[in-house]
Amino acid sequence: MEHVDVVCPFCGCLCDDLEITVEEGHITGIKNACAVSRSKFLNHGSHRITSAAVDGKKASMKKAVKEAVEILSNARRPLIYGLSSTECGAISKAVEIGEVTGGIVDNTASVCHGPTILALQQVGESKATLGEARNRADMVVFWGSNPTAAHLRHIVRYSVMPKGMYSTEGRKGRKVIVVDVRQTGTTRLADKFVKIKPNSDFELLQALRATVRGDELPVDEVSGVPMKEIKELAEEMKNCKFGIVFFGLGLTQSEGRHMNIDAAVGLVSELNRHTKFVLTPMRGHYNVAGANTVATWQTGYPYAIDFSKGYPRYNPGEFTAVDLLASGEVDAAMIIASDPAATFPADAARHLAKIPTITLEQKTTPTTMLSKVVLPVATAGVEAEGTAYRMDGVPLRLSKLVEPPKGIHSDEKVLDMILEGLKEVAQ
């Protein structure tokens, strides 16, 4: 069977034009996908965890869920973390579990674009959906982001190559500027590569902003960039018709963090006094935007949410997973659609191994290996339906193309089983 216009559940681009062939319940062909997507679709079935496990031993789903309920209901300060690579129904259940257990709910934004949100809470943000870039942008700035490695079809589908309503010439009609600390695939296709000293984005952004405002800076260079070049760049930005900045972890996770984004927002806002300018974060995991979105409408807060007082509280730095684990504050954890043991600092990962951890996962990962309870789940967007939010906030429907392995349920269903168990215990 041929499926067309399938939404790809792998990165924040959520490309929705995939063509997928399913034969006898297996994905056998895929068109329009990038290399990452192709590999994930075609190999989603291999090396799967086929059975739930407790303490490393195979267990029935029922027993494993019971064990998970026990862990969570006995915990004094459970952490629920991950959520960026699953659909919104699962995220919703996870938030409710956080509330029912009086625990903490955090998602991977706390280690990627959390600083972007902090900046938004300080100064705001001028943004647009990706189609605005496609239809109007004549200036595209990649700042600390490298789509050739992280968002493979971004350049072709949205930002650089496509022809649009007013961008009738495609690539030729756009000026592409890359600001980065080193040569990347993206710098190679840029019209201008502004190479800056590591950890000096903030200074350059502020210098640009001052220059756009018409202030003279009494220096020869900023962040390794000559003042003359900064002035030229400021002029070009002011004189474009529609400019857009796509920024990545090079900006959010380098020195200055949320202050960098604050400065970028300030620059873009300032430019709106001259022309149209917007910025959009390059969100990595396909539904990390959804994790923030769902948590925000349900609790008021996007991540780092503590329910220990019965109402949601928010404090990044205190209620964020890395901080809670590194300080040894949490006494149980449930990990959904994420692999913190592989990506967190050693202190944090070590604590995860010490406490009873429940993990919902498709394949064996460092996190499943240190977990007390492992619950196998279906792959959202391949074996389960749901909603995901693109990096620019556009919600799309993920499809179910094939059945999950026998006895394996979606994240949402498994979380619902746990939630029901917790409610029973509470009564």
Binding site: S126, K127, A128, N135, N272, Q298, G300, K309, P395
Partner: protein, 567 residues
Amino acid sequence: MKDIVIKGGYVYDPLNGIDGEKVDIHLSDGKVVEKTKKNAKVIDASGKTVMPGGVDLHSHIAGSKINIGRLMRPEDHRKDEVPKGKYTRGGVGYSCPSTFVTGYRYAQMGYTSVMEAAMPPLGARHVHEELIDTPIIDKAAFPLFGNNYFTLKYVRDGDQEKLNAFVAWMLRATRGYAVKIVNPGGVENWKWGRNVYGLDGKVEDYDITPRQIVTSLAKANEALGLPHTIHLHCNNLGMPGNYKTTIETMEVAKAIKPKKGRKTTIHVVHCQFNALAGDNWMNVKSGAPHIAKYVNGNDHVTLDMGQLIFTDTTTMTGDGPWQFALWNMTGNKWVNSDVEMEAGAGVVPYTFKKNNPANTVQWGIGLELALLIDDPWKVYMTTDHPNGGPFTYYPKVMAWLMSRQARTDTMRELNKAVLKRTSLANIYREYTFNELAISTRAGTAQALGLKDKGHLGAGADADVAIYDLDPTGWRPSQYKMLEKAFASAAYTIKGGEVVVKDGEVVSTPLGATHWVDVKIPSEVEEDLMKDLAEDFKKYYTVSLRNYPVEDEYLPIQKVHKTRGAWK
């Protein structure tokens, strides 16, 4: 579900001509009925006020815009933390309440139906996901049409037939209820950082005017026989002198032939923001008397107040260029969010202050509109939540409407501009309970074309509010008592189920989402789809196939079917 009889209350049911009489209300199977079975549960409402459940026709409760407000304002949430309860989820309140809290708090005030007034079509799934998480109340959402590419294209081409088909298709694709228009043409120009000024300004890339957009969409609206009129946020919002634009816009809609059975062709939203006289924010004064005079002399217009509340709130609108202007005026944090091909939005926190002359004038304007327009069926109570202030302040607005003393007591605390630049101090009118019921449920339900809402006749939905206030003994000087009673209903009954008792939520059923399904003849639709397919491929970043909202997003839906222009 057990039948319910509400006995002995003073009933205000303006649509059925019941004005404070003692009538028993019988509820069975989710509906108001003539007579219930013998074993029905009896609610003693003696000495209390009974009204149909409240119907809010303009509020921002779900979708990307309010969620940006929630996201950007942790400081707002800290003022109003809501713990989970026995039946309720936790969350936050104040100006950008979480979805659960939104549902509870409306119900606690006796409201049972709320309209989300601005849905960007591309974000329709987001709106519906949030509506699923908004418990108790019935709801509907209005997709934005006034700056949509296809609207502008068909207006430019003078193709009314296609525009009609497009409006019908879009309502179905987004599961929308009414045609919302925000600053027609202005938001399109804002995509290049500019605005449009007035009805005859130029929508740059299309060489058309806002006048043409409003005319064409109003024609489409009436030709399709939609339950509600166009729902219009006028051009020049927030600009002193704009009352003229507002009246001109109303005049545009006068030329449109209404659908059968209705006199109106336009609803002007949060009119307070569009009823400013003067030349700038320093000398701004009320234009409300001009607008009231026009509305009193014409029967094709309804409007809502957009009443201002003196508090810290979060302004949010599809009017991107206005929010940019507000950011420039205030320097507060500013989020702008443009949606490809369709719409935009802006969010800026704002504090309305009692010592700010302009703010006091705005406060006066909202009330002047409600009090100077003679017919309460033409003007409805809103705060344009949360733009003028959070909806939880409705009881305060009710007090101002019903008690001159409440107004005077507030005016004493205000900058004197309100006395000099509005006529409010000279207005003695006080709303009756019947007029209040019109302004907050009967009139709004009628304007929306929600035939089963806003009244308590047999066949109506069993949505009832009972307030602990004896209207026969109440005097306007006791306005604080009124505020208290309307803030916290003695009972709210939704779909025949008691959801609030003594101001506390006791049950949280999911309400229905209403949307309008216009039958389009297949050959007209095929023709339209060809157009859409071509342009989607060229300009959108999602495919046409992935655009329409699926049934999964409407677990309980109430479809309003109409047969439009193509009989």
